[in-house]
């Protein structure tokens, strides 16, 4: 008995010593609760990057990822502002957090003196990032954008955003043609389908998919503005060449009709299947991942999981190329707004991902420690650790160049490996440096491996190399025009629609319920259905257009410091 007691006593003393040993440094260990507004994977406890964070900053993380509907989750979480996660990423609906008063104003901590690194990071775009609170009039910044603040000249190696996508094998089959209009695009798909109705396994190919589930309805709605030659402003078309920035919804205009007419024709030919309108996102990704979908309009990040799956299966010919299609002038003759000329602009200037990323919640007890940690993490060594990994293990430096072997790079794409060796859940939503390393011994390298020449071109698979060579291009972004300068208002899809939420909701609901019907209409009924759709949606379009115009003008004024 006495022996047992003494053992227990020793154990108790050892346990008591543990916190004391940890508290030896300056920083008391803390655990930060973190919410991510998108689905994700928990890191393993042995994750080497999180271990390093714990060593230097005494910080450990407890992650919660989104499961279910984001808006519902955020509304429920913000009912109790005393019990929020410390680091709060509201995903695509972070405006809800700001409106609900769930986040602290980071400008109380971030300034040129105390946090020179973070300040230098946001300074070039501060007129966009720092806004005025409508009620109090004070300067506010709730979230440091998680992406879109690159250093040095813009890097555009491939299309990461919206485009008409087509499988590489279709272009290869067609003899590597130049495709610039809708007619050419669908023509090629039709001919390919005629010659190859099924893939090697006998599964029938699908000509063109249109995803329209919930907010991903942009695949159905957004193409019109791009066909008009404009980069992504969401659901409105803005004339950037006019000082007044005329803003209008485009879905109810005469120039939108030719696109849906074209889709209607393709539907009648069986290139588009009715099932595409009732498919959810998971089913869509599953379809794309099997390589049977020949083309779709989407944004590259939206089907990244499908691309990865195709690459893992080495189905390179089934991966996609982004094409910058525009209207043929003949298609829209007489329908364009006055003075409008069509020139393809799918790529836009670098856009700060405003209001996306981590905010610090009002219930966090140590905001200054998080800020201090981010400030230190903006240094080169930490950025390399997050982006490239541990030197010698995950990458090496040869003659001042950052390089990875094929195996090392393949590792970085492997989800399981990442859970052991990458701090994705934390780093993706944190402020980060992108673009070019401009100073020090490593100047001329890229912050992110995915942009580094040696990796993009050195490790490119042979199929892609031959494919690009056939076109005489050096990179996949060559299929579209180079980026244009970002408009002063940024990209209009970032504007929060909360003040007109009910009208906006009508606007979306009418599209969801009627537009697929227009596409599936009997050709004789097409005009009638289109007119009925336009009539139904016009009232909400008007409210939406006016609201957006005012907001765009406000942003322009803010950008010019007025």
């Amino acid at each position: 008995m006495r022996k047992l007691l003494s053992i227990l006593l020793v154990l108790a003393m050892m346990l008591a010593l543990v916190p004391a040993a940890l508290a030896d440094g300056d920083l008391e260990p803390i655990t930060l609760t973190v919410f991510r507004g998108d689905p994700g994977d928990q890191p393993y406890p042995d994750n080497k990057i999180y271990k390093k964070i714990e060593e230097e900053f005494g910080v450990t993380f407890e992650f919660e990822f989104l499961a279910g509907d984001l808006d519902e989750k955020l509304t429920l979480m913000t009912q109790d502002l005393d019990d929020l996660p410390d680091l709060f990423d509201g995903g695509n609906s972070a405006e809800k957090l700001i409106d609900a008063g769930a986040l602290i104003n980071l400008l109380d901590y971030v300034n040129p003196e105390d946090t020179p690194n973070l300040w230098a990071h946001i300074e070039p775009q501060k007129n966009r990032i720092i806004t005025k609170d409508e009620v109090t009039g004070e300067d506010v910044m709730y979230i440091i954008p998680n992406y879109g603040l690159p250093e040095g000249p813009q890097i555009a190696l491939s299309v990461g955003g919206p485009a008409f996508f087509i499988q590489k094998q279709v272009l290869a089959w067609g003899g590597y043609p130049q495709i610039t209009t809708l007619d050419e695009y669908f023509d090629l798909i039709e001919k390919f389908l005629e010659a190859n109705p099924t893939n090697a396994d006998g599964t029938p190919y699908i000509g063109f998919d249109i995803l329209c589930e919930d907010w991903r309805r942009f695949c159905l709605i957004n193409p019109v503005q791009h066909l008009m030659g404009h980069p992504n402003d969401g659901e409105v078309l803005i004339d950037v060449n006019s000082d007044d920035y005329p803003t209008e919804t485009f879905i109810n205009r005469a120039y939108a009709k030719p696109y849906y007419k074209k889709l209607n024709e393709e539907f009648q030919k069986g290139i588009i299947s009715a099932d595409t309108f009732v498919m959810n996102y998971d089913q869509y990704i599953a379809q794309l991942s099997t390589g049977i979908v020949l083309g779709m309009f989407d944004q590259a990040w939206d089907f990244g999981n499908a691309t990865n799956a195709l690459l893992t299966d080495k189905k390179y010919e089934n991966t996609y190329v982004a094409l910058g299609l525009v209207y043929d002038e003949d298609d829209v003759a007489g329908l364009l707004p006055e003075g409008w000329t069509i020139e393809e602009h799918y790529l836009n200037g670098s856009l700060p991902n405003l209001d996306r990323g981590f905010g610090i919640s009002v219930s966090c007890e140590c905001p200054e420690r998080i800020i201090a940690m981010w400030e230190r993490m903006m240094d080169e060594d930490w950025q390399l650790l997050f982006n490239w990994g541990v030197e010698g293990e995950d990458y090496s430096i040869v003659d001042g160049r950052l390089i990875m072997t094929e195996e090392q790079y393949a590792n970085t794409q492997d989800i399981e490996w990442q859970r052991h060796n990458k701090a994705r859940a934390f780093f993706e939503s944190s402020p980060k440096r992108q673009g070019w390393i401009l100073e020090g011994d490593l100047a001329g390298n890229c912050w992110e491996p995915g942009n580094q020449n040696e990796i993009v071109f050195g490790l490119m698979n042979d199929y892609d190399k031959e494919f690009l060579a056939a076109y005489g291009y050096s990179k996949f972004a060559d299929f579209v025009n180079p980026p244009i300068e970002l408009a002063p208002y940024g990209e209009a899809w970032q504007i929060d629609k909360a003040p007109i939420e009910k009208d906006y909701n009508d606007f979306l609901n009418i599209q969801d319920s009627q537009l697929p019907g227009v596409i599936m209409a009997n050709p004789d009924d097409f005009d009638a259905k289109w007119d009925a759709f336009v009539e139904a949606i016009n009232p909400s379009c008007e409210v939406y257009s006016n609201f957006m115009h005012e907001e765009v003008l406000k942003l322009v004024d803010a950008y010019y410091g007025k």
């Binding site: 009620v135 599209q511 969801d512 697929p516 599936m520």
Partner: protein, 318 residues
């Protein structure tokens, strides 16, 4: 006991009698206290939240600062100016009625069939197989239904194969099919579960009734019609009254999962309407008003069903 029979003292005596009776049954009363508290806490206290139906939650920035002014009946007025709210009411009632009719009829039919089966092993197997789907998550059931009813799915293959349809039918994308799809899926999922209570009601029917009927020359069909069905009548009525109280709840999961933009005007129930405006758009005022309307209608339905049943001389809930 005398005060009950003496008419003059009846009024005051009744009250006194209630408390005396209560005191006499204090053990029983004590046992009901937890349930009473449960109902009070979870069913009556939340009704305080109905006050939100008369407040303005339109401006999120003001709501965040705790500013939610009273706006009278504005939320209700807005609600009843919305065609989609009427649609939601129509869809809710339509799907409830379809579910109620399909669900009850199929459950009673299956229960009768099972009751007539003499082979116990077969009976047990069928019972287990038919009620297992009850335990499946609606997410799984809907995913299966989406595959089965796809334009290239087995149902369409069958229909076009035997020549009942020339081209595949777009089951999932046309509003006119939606209510019936929900009905069919609900029957598949819940029919076995629904039979349990009827089978137990049938086992409590006195076997001598069947014997007497048989002696009088009643065949199997006549025994079902004249012994089994009357035997489960009171169970049926009680279940019907309870279900009528739930008519305003057509379910939420199945419509939410199976619905899509194309059929939205047939799939949006009141619950989805409340979710859309209350939780997704954070307008608690409108959402509470819609929820309150639903509760009031449900109470009216329940009370009238009960009243009618009482008039017909049946057992009732209260």
């Amino acid at each position: 006991m005398t005060e009950y029979t003496q008419g003059v003292k009846l009024r005051t005596g009744k009250r006194k009698g209630f408390f005396r009776q209560l005191a006499g049954q204090w053990q029983l009363a004590l046992m009901s206290v937890p349930m009473f508290l449960y109902v009070l806490l979870f069913n009556y206290v939340p009704m305080w939240g109905w006050i939100n139906a008369f407040k303005d939650y339109g401006n999120r920035k003001l709501v965040a600062r705790g500013i939610t002014p009273y706006n009278g009946l504005a939320n209700f007025k807005w609600l009843f100016s919305r065609p989609d709210f009427y649609q939601a009411i129509r869809n809710t009632l339509a799907m409830s009625v379809i579910n109620l009719v399909f669900g009850t009829v199929s459950a009673i039919l299956l229960a009768i069939l099972l009751n007539e089966v003499r082979n116990r092993g077969f009976k047990r197997t069928v019972q287990t197989v038919t009620y297992l789907p009850h335990f499946l998550s609606m997410v799984i059931v809907v995913a299966m239904a989406q595959n089965i009813f796809a334009t290239n799915g087995p149902i369409n293959a069958l229909l076009t194969g035997v020549g009942l349809a020339k081209t595949p039918i777009f089951w999932l994308g046309e509003g006119k099919y939606f209510w019936w799809l929900v009905g069919v899926i609900n029957v598949w999922k819940e029919v076995g579960w629904g039979t349990i209570i009827y089978i137990s009601a049938m086992t409590s029917i006195d076997p001598s009734l069947y014997e007497a009927a048989a002696i009088d020359g009643a065949g199997r069909f006549h025994r079902i019609m004249h012994v089994t069905l009357p035997g489960i009548r009171s169970t049926f009525i009680i279940l019907l009254i309870m279900n009528i109280g739930h008519l305003m709840e057509a379910g939420f999961e199945i419509q939410y999962l199976l619905g899509n933009g194309l059929v939205a005007s047939y799939s949006r129930t009141i619950d989805i309407f409340v979710l859309e405006y209350g939780i997704q758009q954070m307008d608690m005022g409108v959402a509470t008003a819609a929820g309150m309307f639903k509760s009031v209608v449900a109470i009216i339905l329940l009370v009238s069903a009960n009243f009618i049943a009482k008039r017909l001389g049946e057992d009732t809930l209260v």
